[in-house]
Amino acid sequence: MGRIEANPTVSRLLMGLALLIVLGAVYYAARSVLAAVPLGPQQTVTTINPKMGVHTRLTDEAEEWKIKRSLEMVREMGAPWIVEYFPWAYYEPEPGRFGWNHPDTVIAHATRQGLTVVARLGFAPEWARPAGTIPLYLDEEHYVDFGRFAAAFAARYRGQVDYIILWNEPNLSQEWGYRPVDPESYTQLLRVVYPMVKEANPDVQVLAGALAPTLAPAGSEWGMNDLIYLQRMYDAGAAAYFDVLAIHAYGWSFDADDAPDPEVVNFRRAELLRDVMVRNGDGDKQAIITESGWNDHPRWTRAVSPGRRIANTIRAYEIAADWPWLDAIAMWAFRYPWDAKNYQDDYTFVGVDFEPKPIYWEVQAYARGAGDSP
C-alpha cells in the first residue's frame, strides 16, 4: 500500500480553516458571555395588595436588559403579577420545531423578580392556517396543533408558569381571524386543548374567555356582547374545560365605583361576568382580570383626565382586593417597546425610555401604603 503524500497547500488551507473555526467559536462564546444579562439574586415583591398586576409587553422586546429592567420596575412598583403574551407563531415556526429562547429569557427574569406569570397563548403560525388568513385565524382542524404547542409550553415551564390563557378576545371578529365569532367553536378549542395542557402539566391553571367588553348588538359583524358570549360558552359545555375565567375590565370614561350595568362598559362589568359563572354553577371557580385600566389621552373619546386615571386605577386595585372570587388584576399596559404615537401610549405606566409616568409613582406609593393625591 503506497503512502499518501500530504499536499502542502491543502494542508495550509485546512489549518487556516481550522484556525478560523476556532476563532469563530471563541468569538461567539465570548460574545454570548459578554451579552448575557445576569438574572441577579432572587427577589420578592413588597406590596399591601397581593392581587396587583400589570400586563407587560415584552413579546417584541429583543434586548435582554430591557426585559430585565421592565420586570424589575414592575416589582419595584409593587405588583406581584404579570400577564405576558407568547405568540405561538414566534416559537413554533415549523411543526414540532420549537425555539424557546425568548420565552426562556422572559420567564427566567420574571420568576427571579418574584413575579407570578400569566401566559397568554395565541397567534397561529402560517403552517397552521389557510393561505391568506391572519394569525388570529385558527380553524377547528388545527386546534390539536395549538394544543400541542400549549402543552409543550406548559410542560417546559412547569413550576415557573402556573397560569395559561387560551386565545384572546374570541368574541371580536378581528381576534377571530375576521370571521363571524363563534362561541361554540371556541368552546371546542377549549375541549381539545384543555386536556392536552393538563396532561402535560397537571399543576397549570387554564384560563378561558378573555372576552372583550363590548355592547355589540345581535348580529353585529364586529363581535358579540361578552355576557351573551360567555353564556353561550356555558351552553356549549365550556365549564369542564377551563379552571379560571379571564376577564377584561376596562373603565373607559367611567369611575371604578360606577355600578355594573349590562348596557354599559365599565370596570364593574366584571361582576356581571361573575354572575354568569355563578348562574351556571361555576361559582367555585376563580377569575383573573387579565386586562384593565383607564386611558388619559387628550383626544380619545373614552379617555379620562390624568388624575382620574390614577385615582381609578388605584381604586380598581382596592376593589379587586375585596372580591373574594378574584385572584389578581393586571392593568394594561406597563410599557411598550416603542411609542405607538396614538391613544394606546396613554395606557402605559412607563415610557419607552423607562421614564416612569406619574401613575407609576402613585401606584407604587399605594402599594407601599402611602398616597399623593392633590
Binding site: 383626565s305 386615571r309 390614577i310 416603542w338 404615537k341 416612569p356 406619574p358 409613582w361
Partner: protein, 278 residues
C-alpha cells in the same frame, strides 16, 4: 498560441464582459436614482391637486381650537384656516375630509386624502411611509410663570414652587426636575387651570403645562408667560404621502413665509382668543 495561453485569453475576455455588464447596470441604477432627485420626477399628489384643483385634507374635527365644527356642522378652526391659506396660495379649493384621529394616517396611506392637517404630532416611526412638513405649532410641555417673575429658565427653579396637573405630562416633567434638584417643591392640582390659577394667585412660582392648554389659558386672560423652549417637544406638522416631495417643498416654503409674515402668530391670536374658545 498554446492551449494554456488561449484559455487565459478567453478568461480575460469573460471577465471584461462581466465587469462591463456590471458597470452598465450600476450606471443605470445610479442614473435612475440621481435623476429622481435631481430632476424631480413626478409628484403624483401635486399633479393630482393641480389637475383637479382640489386639495383633499384629512381632519378630525374634535380638537378645538385646531379642529372643530361650527354651529352648522362645518369644519372650522386653526387648521382649517391654515389649510385654506395654503390652498389660496396654490389657487385650489380645500376639501376637508372628516376622519377619526386614529384613522387619519391610514386614510393618507390608502390615498383617500392628499394631506393631514389635524394638530398631528410628528411621528419619527412613520417617516418610512409618510413625509412631514416643518412644524407649525409647538404643543410640548412649557414652563410658564406670572408676568414679571424673575424665573427665566428651568435652572432658576431652585427652591421654587412648581404647579402641575396631577398625573399629567407636566407632572412627569416636574418629577424629573425634582429628582435633579430636590429643592423644587411640586404642587399638584386636579386640573391645569387650577395649577395656573395657583401661579397667578402667587401660591406657586411656575406651572408646567402643554403648549395648547397654555395658549388657551393665555387666550382667556391668564397672566402667564412662557419661559424658555419646550421641555419636551411635541410639534404639530402636516402629513403627506412619502413621495409628495413637491407638495412638501411648497408647504415648507409657505409655512416659513407664514412665520416671517406673522400669519401663524395671527392664527394663534385668532383661535386662542377668548371669543373663539369653547
Amino acid at each position: 498560441m498554446g492551449l494554456r495561453r488561449r484559455m487565459q485569453a478567453a478568461g480575460w475576455r469573460q471577465r471584461l464582459l462581466l465587469v462591463t455588464g456590471l458597470a452598465v447596470i450600476v450606471g443605470m441604477v445610479a442614473f435612475w436614482l440621481t435623476s429622481r432627485f435631481l430632476f424631480g420626477g413626478v409628484d403624483e399628489t401635486w399633479q393630482r391637486i393641480q389637475e383637479t384643483g382640489v386639495w383633499r385634507v384629512g381632519m378630525d374635527p374634535s380638537f378645538p381650537p385646531f379642529d372643530l365644527l361650527d354651529g352648522e356642522g362645518r369644519p372650522t378652526g386653526y387648521d382649517v384656516d391654515l389649510a385654506q391659506a395654503i390652498a389660496d396660495r396654490w389657487g385650489v379649493r380645500v376639501q376637508i375630509v372628516a376622519i377619526g384621529f386614529d384613522g387619519l394616517t391610514d386614510a393618507l396611506l390608502a390615498g383617500k386624502i392628499d394631506s393631514v392637517i389635524s394638530a398631528l404630532p410628528y411621528n419619527p416611526r412613520l417617516t418610512q411611509d409618510l413625509s412631514y412638513s416643518r412644524s407649525y405649532f409647538e404643543a410640548g410641555i412649557r414652563l410658564a410663570t406670572a408676568e414679571g417673575s424673575p424665573i427665566r429658565a428651568v435652572d432658576d427653579l431652585t427652591g421654587k414652587r412648581l404647579a402641575v396637573e396631577w398625573g399629567s405630562n407636566g407632572d412627569a416633567e416636574a418629577r424629573r426636575l425634582q429628582r435633579a434638584d430636590p429643592t423644587i417643591r411640586r404642587l399638584t392640582f386636579p386640573s391645569p387651570q387650577d395649577a395656573a390659577a395657583a401661579v397667578t394667585a402667587g401660591e406657586a412660582d411656575g406651572v408646567l403645562v402643554d403648549g395648547v392648554t397654555l395658549r388657551q389659558m393665555q387666550g382667556k386672560g391668564a397672566a402667564l408667560v412662557a419661559v424658555g423652549p419646550a421641555l419636551e417637544s411635541n410639534p404639530y406638522v402636516i402629513a403627506l404621502p412619502v413621495d409628495a416631495y413637491t407638495v412638501r417643498g411648497e408647504i415648507d416654503a409657505i409655512l416659513a413665509e407664514f412665520v416671517t409674515t406673522g400669519f401663524l402668530a395671527e392664527l394663534e391670536n385668532r383661535w386662542f382668543s377668548e371669543s373663539t374658545q369653547p
